[in-house]
Symmetry: C2
Subunit: 523 residues, 2 copies
């Protein structure tokens, strides 16, 4: 008896859920008892509170039933063990394997893929150590002092968010300064290149296919600047690509590190795509700790009972909010400046994975799938768009993230409390303000309340904690894909734009509207 892939509206609990519901009344529900009970101990020190999510006990039971009926844990295990989960592209989905193996080896065409990913990480480790020791140097025999990643989408947002999250997490020395070039806008590369001492800069070119238009253009931009500076570009560049790409094993790179088609771009932060820059900038130990945390979260996500599995429960609650309550967007609000670009990464992870309108068999769906995801760090967001979240006409579910301690430990006492304490007091206050609202005789000062949120919290944003946080959201997105019965691992929706762009550039555009807009923009 194999696992069945069914649409949400083909399962009994799914049908119930799709009939719609009223949001649970958090004003009365949000008690101390519920806050104690609606908590899940997660991996790497994380805890997850869903006390302020819009579910009463009956709704929670429905979600528990739905998880069982849709075989979510079993589907996840199949994915881990090499099932062809990316159906449209006939591919395995193996990003979990970059951080650890759960069951036996996963083989494809006789190749042990876990061993392959590990061998690439090992190559990165050795290369990194040689750069740090000054054995590998630039073309003028000077040691490298900074590293610039050239990549876009998954080759940029995840690695950049992870780097920013960790650059101040390690008290030991930081190795190389790190920067990123992503946009094909030449002003992006111009600004980054101008800020670097090229003689001691190492560039990481990241493109799985080796054909990404923006990335190749930026590579050429950088090579030209290196050449003009009298440097040999081949001695200032490594590639992260697939073994079959035009970039592989080229003498134009100091070294090449490989991934393959089973690591989707938006899931590649724990592969060579993220590991190379993290290792060069922050040291190999940070990468190992980061991967360890992600693996812990992957193991924790195997638990079939959502009441004991934060990623699974988070996924189910999201589907409840999207399909039973009809909320079209979700905000991610980390109370941590180090996570400033984490929402932008989740925006890609979630919207590119689950912004789909057909199921995994290519059949149109009759229900809503992935929401719009946006967010900025608190307390900044409080002084920006929270007005809308509190008193706007729509309800936006919120995902709060918080830490007991700051990363650097440097702080000041002002008006009787430290900044870290203020940060946490704000976070606690917001959860309750959103949930409970406030009555007032002046309608302008009235807060409707019943605006749902969850809280993920940990002691400190360490590399392990970041790895587990990343995996939490990757696994949440995966479970939601299973629930909606969609393929979360392809991105056909990016193809049409690429084709039309090419037609504009090679002069073959036939649509008069396309020609008119190209003319407007003097293309």
């Amino acid at each position: 008896m194999g696992i069945q892939f069914k649409n949400l509206d083909q399962s009994k609990s799914g049908k119930k859920l799709l009939k719609g519901a009223k949001s649970a009344n958090l004003k009365s529900l949000l008690t101390e008892d519920r806050i104690r009970d609606y908590q899940i101990a997660g991996p790497a020190g994380w805890r997850f509170s869903y006390a302020a999510r819009p579910v009463d006990p009956q709704a929670v039971q429905l979600l528990v039933d739905l998880a069982a009926e849709q075989d979510l844990a079993a589907k996840y295990r199949e994915l881990l063990n090499g099932a062809v989960m990316n159906t449209g592209e006939d591919r395995l989905v193996l990003h979990h394997l970059t951080r650890g193996q759960v069951d036996g080896p996963v083989r494809k065409d006789g190749k042990d893929l876990g061993a392959f990913y590990r061998s690439q990480l090992e190559k990165i480790r050795t290369f990194t150590e040689q750069v740090h020791q000054g054995t590998i140097k630039g073309s003028t025999e000077k040691a490298f002092t900074s590293v610039v990643q050239i990549g876009i989408g998954g080759s940029d947002l995840g690695p950049r968010a992870m780097f920013l999250a960790l650059e101040n997490s390690v008290s030991g020395k930081k190795y190389l300064d790190a920067h990123f070039i992503s946009n094909v806008d030449p002003d992006d590369a111009t600004a980054v290149v101008a800020s670097q001492k090229l003689e001691t800069t190492l560039f990481i070119l990241v493109s799985k296919s080796g054909t990404t238009q923006e990335t190749l253009a930026n590579e050429n931009f950088v090579r030209e600047k290196l050449q003009k500076a009298g440097l040999n570009p081949d001695r200032h560049m490594v590639a992260v690509t697939s073994e079959t790409s035009p970039l592989a094993k080229s003498s134009r790179y100091l070294a090449s590190f490989f991934i393959d088609d089973y690591i989707g771009g938006r899931y590649s932060s724990t592969s060579a795509v993220g590991a190379t820059i993290l290792a060069l900038a922050l040291g190999w130990e940070v990468v190992e700790r980061f991967l360890k945390g992600a693996h812990e979260a992957d193991v924790a996500a195997l638990e079939p009972d959502p009441r004991k599995n934060a990623a699974l429960m988070d996924a189910l609650l999201g589907v409840w909010e999207r399909n039973a309550l009809g909320y079209p967007s979700t905000a991610v609000l980390p109370y941590s400046q180090a996570l400033s670009r984490f929402p932008a990464h989740l925006q890609q992870l979630d919207m590119e994975s689950n912004g789909k309108q057909v199921n995994r068999f290519g059949q149109p769906l009759k229900y809503a799938t992935g929401p719009v995801i946006f967010g900025e760090p608190g307390t900044n967001g409080q002084h920006s768009f929270y007005q809308h979240l509190h008193q706007g006409t729509d309800t936006v579910p919120l995902q709060f993230i918080g830490f007991l301690e700051s990363q650097a430990g440097s702080d000041v006492v002002s008006e009787g409390s430290t900044s870290q304490t203020k940060l946490k007091a704000n976070l606690a206050a917001q959860i309750v303000a959103f949930a409970k609202g406030q009555t007032h005789e002046n309608a302008n000062k009235m807060f409707p309340g019943n605006r749902p949120s969850s809280l993920l919290w940990n002691t400190k944003l360490t590399p392990e904690a970041l790895g587990a946080l990343l995996a939490h959201f990757e696994n949440k997105v995966m479970f939601q894909g299973f629930l909606w019965n969609i393929n979360s691992f392809d991105q056909e929706g990016v193809q049409l734009g690429k084709i039309l762009t090419k037609s504009v550039l090679d002069g073959s555009a036939s649509d008069p509207a396309l020609r008119a807009f190209a003319k407007i923009l003097s293309v």
Copy 2:
């Protein structure tokens, strides 16, 4: 006969609009003729195309009628001339006056407020010149080399977005390096302070009330670090505040520059709040050009016919999308890396202004108001959340922004075209891909089309162009506030969180849920 403030559902055209509509069929509508006709020449070289917005000619006529019926141009003129438009707080709304006067002087309690704002800008100009000349120096008598703004919300997002937009726009010399501290998370201040040579750093403390918790905590953090470095903090700090604030005219600052209650935080980029750091970092001339562009846009927005007024038409189209078509969010997509944080500023500007559920008289509304706003620069977004925009189950209206030329002019030819040309080809392609979609036998490769967008474009992102772009959106938001009959200039929705935070910090929190969450976070 005075101007009447009516709810959208109290006007004849508004009632029609609220009955709902089907999206116009862009697949057939988007012709060369329409692209030529649905264009508005705007201020400072801007052009606005609404050919791909979801309106047929009947809908456009309805919007033209609505603008007339709701007296939008007249309401704007009243605002310019000092009407109490911020009704809840009984205040004038005068940010336009920081960049120029349209009619006669605006006086309040006998004071000419335009003259007041100009006098502050003049003080900033003089101060800036003295810093640049080295007449005003730090406490060790060394010239300043960098400037750090301490502020949050409107004191951060706007100025930061404007600085990033302009830092590479001027070919002449850049004066001081600029940085920002906003979050109360101590890791924010720690990282920025660690990156600066304090001896030659000037801090700008920005808080209109002088009581912003996060900003005062960060001021104390910085003062402590300055002191520990053996420097006199009072010689390294200026204040931007109101004349009545505790910070005004204090000897603790090298200088103080004033705004007042008639400049809302999110509208303050063209006041002392934005001008100080722009002048110090980029020179006074840049500020003047920036203000000039904004003023041009303010004047252009006086035109009563929406077919000749880009800001007004943009506002009406947004209301059409929100209330006739029911779209809950809008994405802002600048094809310009320099505008990387412009969407974050618009997120505050729009969501804090129009995320309201009561009208300007404090009465509950029965229709949706401001949407969720999010965005990232293209081409980056294409490799991130565009999958969802193309093939997700919801429709998200898009606001594209583009430029014919890059800022720096440095470029490379790769595969036969420059990066700037590729950037523009992508932009043209996306507009058409979203509008027209693609049929395909494989549903997974099918693009539904009819996903609306508009395009604002200009030759180059100069200071004038940026000022006009900023004012375009400020005025769009204002017109939408008039249409929804809300007060776009208060933010009562941020108060409850502040009160509850205070209660946690002073131990007076009474709600058991609040105490429980505070305990969870070890506050």
